[in-house]
């Protein structure tokens, strides 16, 4: 297993961060029921490594209740984007932790019910007053009981109290969109209570996570910070020989490679099974490998123990071209940034070349021993998303459809024929409880066709959707090969009865170049006209990624006016005739 650096390393490093050199910024609040020192410093260093400046607010010792309940508190003045409320079993159980059986099972249950509803209510209070995401930790199930072996024969035992509290906390907050329960109990299980709880530190300073383990806790919690910042990753690019199977297929042959139920081949099967589970969740897979294509494809198609098959890969670059060029082409073909890619290759030299040439790609330092590939993979917390939508689960299928579209594109002679043969339908949908999670996802991660790149959290979108001075919606794009799902979104501000401003207008790269943007714009303009609006303002705010939509507004007919592009209602709207526009 990879180990974390010591806390002293992070503390020293946190003092030399040059915040002015960092590209993004995040405000993080840390609230705790015990002394939780060092966490802020580790966050700052880990964020700085990702070019993010992290500013923290650390609540006073056990002051979380006051901080949340008092509307005037420093916490709200700080206005965090993400807040961690880290609690512990001793603080919540109080004397019951030491003397659980001094009261009846019914009294224990009543105590837990009360604590659970208090916590749920405090979480809700916080998110009503703040735009921050709240991550609240659950509780460690005690490993010690005064009842010893009789513990599990006891009704509503000490351990049951915490299990029940964890369950109630989770179910009570399940439908709260901006609250997440962090499974702290699982964290303790993973590292072991004997390591994590240092009695000296506890007795000396009420420290309940040993200082050595603060970096591990921070790493786990970074799993929430990355998707809030939109710096999570979407795609795993894999080498083949000695990465997906043991040996070199060009030398050892189809039958000679190590892949199957027996060790060492089982290590590769295990690794592939975990990759498949990520694929099923929406992570894109691709291959970048130096092999004879026939040799490698035969394994992908016919090997009895391959778990991943050709159709699981959105892009296959199996050739003798250098891996850097291949990697660039994969990013281009899949329409994703290099900073969305995680690269697995067993060869340290290849890794070094990749890391030097394309530092945006996360090149995984793969251990030599293939049995350690799986633990290395599952430790990555870069694929976390705050919401798993139906679009995510279908992503693999969509890439297959995309490959079929490309094939059709190659057979027809011009673009117009291609588009009209696709039979594209655009469905405009309102922002509602079903579409808001996906709209938020698009707003947080769309980079290329995004006019303003304003980033809003799900709570913001929900507020906008209730505001009668805003128009929030999205577009679902379908064609004969399949449903691309919701792939466009827009937010329009109704400034006054005669003027509207397009605050956000974006299109997923998945459907770029098919005229969907024209249809969505036509919808907005027609809505505006119907309400008697005479002037619609649009804006293009350049970033280093949104070049693809630079010309969109002028090409649609918007006229330059200062920093805006303006459309007058007396001008016609245009919908390309190869498209069908439906409004729900």
């Amino acid at each position: 297993m990879d180990s974390e650096s010591k806390l002293s390393y992070y503390i020293a490093k946190s003092e030399s961060i040059n915040h002015s050199m960092l590209e993004k910024k995040i405000k993080v609040a840390i609230l705790s029921s015990f002394t939780l020192i060092g966490l802020a410093e580790v966050f700052c260093v880990k964020c700085a490594d990702k070019k993010v400046s992290c500013v923290t607010y650390v609540s006073g010792y056990d002051q979380y209740n006051q901080d949340i309940l008092n509307y005037e508190s420093e916490l709200y003045k700080f206005s965090p984007e993400i807040s961690f409320l880290v609690l512990d079993t001793r603080s919540i159980l109080k004397n019951l932790f030491y003397s659980p059986y001094s009261v009846s099972a019914a009294e224990r249950k009543e105590y837990i019910d009360r604590r659970a509803s208090e916590l749920i209510s405090i979480a809700k209070t916080f998110t009503r007053r703040s735009n921050s995401k709240l991550i609240i930790t659950n509780f460690t199930v005690p490993t010690y009981s005064p009842y010893g072996i009789y513990e599990t024969k006891t009704d509503y035992s000490l351990q049951d109290t915490i299990r029940d509290l964890n369950f109630k906390l989770n179910s009570g907050l399940l439908s709260e969109p901006s609250v997440y329960v962090y499974d702290f109990n699982a964290f303790v299980t993973k590292h072991g209570e004997n390591n994590l709880f240092d009695y000296r530190q506890f007795l000396f300073g009420d420290i309940k996570v040993a200082l050595n383990y603060i970096p591990y806790l921070a790493e786990d919690l970074m799993g929430y910070i990355k998707p809030v910042l939109g710096i999570n990753r979407k795609c795993i690019v894999l080498d083949l020989d000695n990465t997906l199977w043991g040996g070199v297929v060009g030398e050892d042959g189809f039958e000679g490679i190590e892949l199957g139920p027996k060790a060492p081949g089982s290590a590769f099967v295990e690794f592939q099974r975990h990759l498949l589970s990520l694929y099923q969740r929406g992570v894109i897979l691709a291959v970048n490998s130096k092999n004879n294509p026939e040799d490698a494809l035969k394994v992908l198609r016919d090997h009895p123990y391959m778990v991943l098959r050709e159709e699981n890969f959105a892009s296959l670059r199996i050739n003798w071209i250098d891996k850097i060029s291949n990697m660039r082409e994969i990013a281009e073909e899949l329409n994703i940034g290099l900073d969305s890619i995680v690269y697995f290759d067993d060869d340290p030299i290849n890794r070094e070349i990749m890391a030097k040439a394309l530092p945006e790609v996360l090149t995984v330092d793969l251990p030599k021993d293939p049995s350690l590939y799986t633990p290395r993979l599952v430790r990555l917390n870069d694929f976390n998303v705050l919401k798993i939508t139906t679009e995510d689960a279908k992503r693999g299928e969509m890439y297959l459809q995309q490959r079929k579209r490309s094939e059709l594109e190659k057979t027809v002679s011009n673009m117009e024929d291609f588009l009209s043969q696709l039979g594209i339908k655009i469905k405009i949908k309102k922002a509602d409880q079903f579409t808001i999670p996906r709209i938020a996802q698009l707003i947080l991660k769309t980079n290329q066709f995004n006019l303003t790149t304003h980033r809003y959290q799900e709570e913001d979108i929900r507020n906008f959707s209730h505001d009668k001075n805003m128009l929030v919606g999205c577009a679902q794009v379908e064609d004969k090969f399949g449903d691309n799902g919701i792939t466009g979104a827009f937010i329009v501000r109704k400034d006054n009865p005669s003027e509207w401003t397009i605050d956000t207008f974006l299109l997923s790269c998945r459907v770029m170049g098919r005229g969907a943007e024209d249809a969505i714009m036509a919808f907005i303009l027609n809505e505006a006209k119907a309400e008697g609006v005479t002037k619609i303002r649009g804006q293009y705010i350049p970033t280093n990624k949104n070049k693809p939509c630079e010309d969109f507004l002028p090409s649609y007919g918007f006229k330059s006016e200062g920093e805006y592009w303006v459309y007058s209602a007396n001008m016609p709207t245009k919908i390309p005739h190869h498209l069908e526009l439906l409004i729900e």
């Binding site: 010591k6 806390l7 002293s8 503390i11 060092g38 000296r200 000396f204 300073g205 200082l211």
Partner: protein, 78 residues
């Protein structure tokens, strides 16, 4: 071995090695607060492969005391 000790103290307290003396303490080094004191204990335990007692943790407020505690665990210092 003293070199190693001074290295660790300098790193944790974020001060040049030259500033660290036998008499250095939480009083004389600005960065030496109770939190850094604990981080220092933690780092020393890893570096010298020892486990301090609670009493030693409580009485580690000067370089001199730390040396004494390390000697208690059989660490030879010059």
């Amino acid at each position: 071995m003293s070199d190693k000790l001074y290295d660790v103290i300098a790193e944790v307290m974020n001060v040049p090695i030259s500033q660290i003396k036998n008499e250095s303490s939480a009083e004389t080094l600005e960065t030496w607060d109770s939190f850094r004191g604990l981080v220092l204990m933690d780092q020393l335990e890893t570096t010298f492969n020892v486990k301090f007692t609670l009493d030693e943790v409580l009485h580690s407020k000067t370089v001199y005391e730390i040396k004494r505690n390390l000697r208690n665990h059989g660490i030879l210092l010059d």
